[in-house]
């Protein structure tokens, strides 16, 4: 009973993440990769993503403090960010990266800063939700 209840919870959380657009199909790909040999694969990947992306975010923040903005470099960072966030299926984060890149192309400093704030927010939100998700999954 308890188990199926937890399972239901897990599924509920996961479904909502998908429905709300936090995660996309790539996340399912990751879950498919999870097997007995790597029972916590998805969590490991997400952990790796967050530690790596935190570093990237710091780099972007530093870059945003240097005026005039180095749009090339920022675009570069965003390209990397986009790559890794898309690998874990972080849909909203990816969308914000694209916004940021568009602002870079348009050389829109304010736009870049705004996009970055948005991106950070989505990044943090997803982290919370995934942490909760994994927590519950582990309890299963």
């Amino acid at each position: 009973m308890e188990q199926s209840h937890i399972k239901k919870q897990i599924n509920f959380i996961k479904n909502s993440l998908f429905e709300q657009g936090y995660l996309d199909e790539q996340f399912i790909q990751l879950e498919d990769l999870q097997d007995d040999a790597n029972p916590n694969f998805v969590e490991e990947i997400v952990t790796s993503f967050y530690s790596d992306s935190t570093r990237l975010i710091r780099n972007v923040e530093n870059a945003l403090e240097n005026y005039p903005l180095d749009f090339c470099k920022l675009d570069d960072y965003m390209h990397q960010f986009k790559g890794s966030s898309s690998s874990i299926g972080a849909k909203k984060v990816k969308v914000e990266c694209t916004h940021f890149q568009e602002c870079c192309k348009a050389r829109n400093s304010q736009g870049c800063i705004r996009a970055f704030q948005q991106m950070k927010q989505e990044h943090a939100t997803l982290k919370r939700k995934l942490e909760a998700y994994f927590q519950i999954s582990r309890n299963e």
Binding site: Q26, Q29, L30, D32, L33, D35, N38, F41, E44, I45, S48, F49, D52, D76, H79, Q80, K82, G83, S84, S86, S87, I88, G89
Partner: protein, 592 residues
């Protein structure tokens, strides 16, 4: 001609059975189960993003591939260089901090000729196009799905097939040479294209027969089935320059083998040799002019000394050794042999005062002219990795074993039985060496010393005869030379220069012998600037041609003493740019 038949050999050992795409039929050390291809496909993944790397690794593992991860392009390149046949396909990210993915792509194409798949989150047409023009065999958009990875084996097979086809072409052409020589003895205007057609079938049939024999890696069979057991003529630099001079003098259109032969006035080569060489030269020129037209960014890549050569100069010694070897010999076995010999010689040199060693080598102009580039690299390699080495005594003896007055012909004599040894002799070497985690070729020479009654003890199992595989220019007339005591070189891998896996693994994993064959040492960074890195049907042929013509120029560019000096002074250098002291930019001026 050497190149063609040798390439043929390569192909054979690479893919012995066309029915199964298995790679391990003749391999000794291959880990995958036979006929389970594509399972066990050895993939090298390069991506600076650790998350992506982890995901790709898992996906590829789930596809039953053997995965090696790498987060830096430089590391990937050295991995590839050290294990020339250790990988079947490379997947690389476009965007990497230490090296542009496209640059890596080109490098890999040049040096290892492996299929490379590019990946990026960027799906803009320009970037994808760049991938195509730089020679990527596929371009994946991130996030990569496992379905996309499941089929990457097709690129491996496709590439091999293309190489087979090229081998067929070159082998057939080569056979055509010989047949034509008989049939058109009086034809002054030997033209390859004219003869290609009607002799194709004959040549192909013969080659197919040879293929059967090759299946088991029986080099002797190939040798026997070769219709003409003429002494090989290796077109060394001098010879080729004489050839080119003669051709230029006559005019490329009017240059016919007989006249060229007369002009060259070199004893020991026949009109047939010249005809065959001319045919290749023509093809080479044709490709050169064709590729120049198609070259976009790539030509500049090569013509730019800083960008192109700087990176290219980081070609491993192995590459260059192999390249030089292939330039002369093209044959797989020789590729392996040459570095070994070089390394052995270098080791000897490193252990003893220059004066006592360099002299004998310098006396043998022709040998040194070939050895130098390789020796240089080999020396660096050796120095870098082995440091002090108690086994140096062996190589020392090796040098003593080298007759100081040896004429080039004598050395060539060793080549006499080379074909027979290629697959047989060398294969055991590589497969054995794999277990030893290092395959140094020094024992080639040490083996030689053993023959004259040296005290070197030999371990069991790994010995094999490497005859005439020193990559020494073969001017023909070497029949009588076969009896030289150079002839028997016994290679004992266990007596390799110890010092860990310092020495370059030439073909450490014979199990991946399919790569041995497929691994035409592609070295075209000699200023041709051709855009041949575009996936091109004639690529391997072209590269083979390049190798045969361009690489031979190496020795001519540098005084041999200088080379030796460079070698010694560079003993402590780590592998790096221009460590070989080669002025790559000068390669632009190589006469062609």
């Amino acid at each position: 001609m050497n190149l063609a038949s040798q390439t043929l050999v390569n192909k054979q050992s690479t893919m012995p059975s066309s029915s199964s795409a298995s790679r391990n039929s003749t391999a000794g050390g291959e880990s995958n189960v036979p006929d389970q291809f594509p399972a066990g496909l050895r993939v090298l993944v390069v991506d600076d993003d650790p998350t992506c790397l982890m995901i790709l690794e898992k996906m590829l593992r789930n596809c039953k591939y053997e995965v090696t991860k790498c987060n830096r392009a430089e590391v990937a390149l050295s991995l590839l260089r050290e294990n020339k046949n250790g990988f079947d396909v490379v997947i690389s990210d476009v965007h990497m901090p230490d090296m542009d993915g496209f640059k890596l792509l080109v490098h890999i194409g040049l040096e290892m000729d492996l299929p490379v798949i590019m990946m990026s989150a960027d799906d803009s047409k320009s970037v994808v196009m760049k991938g195509v023009t730089h020679g990527a065999c596929d371009y994946l958009i991130k996030p990569v799905r496992i379905e996309a990875l499941r089929n990457i084996w097709q690129h491996v097979v496709r590439k091999k097939k293309r190489e087979w086809k090229d081998v067929d072409t070159s082998a057939s052409l080569d056979d055509v040479d010989r047949k034509e020589e008989k049939q058109q003895a009086e034809d002054p205007d030997y033209s390859s294209s004219a003869n290609e057609g009607h002799n194709w079938k004959n040549a192909k049939r013969r080659k197919d027969d040879e293929d059967e024999g090759e299946g088991e890696g029986e080099g002797e069979e190939r040798d026997d089935s070769s219709s003409l057991k003429k002494p090989r003529v290796v077109w060394c630099v001098e010879l080729h320059q004489q050839f080119v001079a003669a051709v230029n003098q006559l005019g490329i259109d009017k240059a016919v083998p007989k006249k060229i032969l007369d002009l060259m006035n070199v004893p020991g080569i026949t009109r047939e040799n010249v005809a065959s060489h001319l045919q290749k030269y023509r093809l080479y020129l044709r490709r050169l002019s064709g590729s120049h037209q198609s070259g976009g960014t790539t030509p500049s890549f090569f013509s730019n000394p800083d960008a192109g050569y700087g990176s290219i100069s980081t070609l491993s010694d192995l590459d260059l050794q192999a390249l030089a070897a292939s330039g002369q010999l093209g044959q797989l076995g020789q590729l392996g042999q040459l570095p070994a010999q070089s390394l052995a010689t270098l080791q000897a040199r490193s252990a003893y005062p220059k004066s006592s060693i360099s002299v004998p080598l310098l006396d043998q102009r022709n040998i040194v002219s070939f050895e130098n580039p390789q020796l240089r690299y080999g020396l660096n390699q050796v120095q870098n990795r082995q440091g002090q080495n108690g086994n140096i005594t062996r190589p020392m003896n090796l040098l003593h074993g080298i007759p100081t007055t040896m004429e080039p012909n004598q050395l060539m004599g060793m080549q006499g039985s080379f074909p027979g040894l290629t697959s047989q002799g060398l294969i055991p070497l590589t497969s054995q060496s794999q277990s030893q985690s290092h395959v140094s070729r020094q024992p080639v020479l040490s083996g030689q010393v053993v023959s004259p009654g040296n005290h070197v003890t030999e371990s069991t199992g790994n010995r094999f005869h490497v005859r005439g595989s020193l990559g020494i220019p073969n001017y023909g007339n070497n029949n009588q030379m076969r009896q030289q005591n150079w002839g028997d070189l016994t290679f004992d891998p266990s007596r390799q220069m110890q010092g860990g896996s310092g020495t370059h693994v030439v073909q450490h994993n014979f199990g991946s012998s399919q790569k041995l064959g497929g691994n035409k040492v592609i070295y075209s960074s000699t200023g041709e600037g051709s855009g041949t890195h575009v996936v091109d049907n004639d690529r391997s042929m072209l590269k083979a041609e390049k190798v045969s013509y361009k690489n031979t120029f190496f020795p001519e560019e540098y005084n041999q003493e200088d080379l030796l000096n460079a070698m010694f002074t560079q003993q402590q250098q780590q592998q790096g740019e221009n460590e070989l002291g080669v002025d790559w930019s000068s390669l632009d001026n190589l006469p062609v």
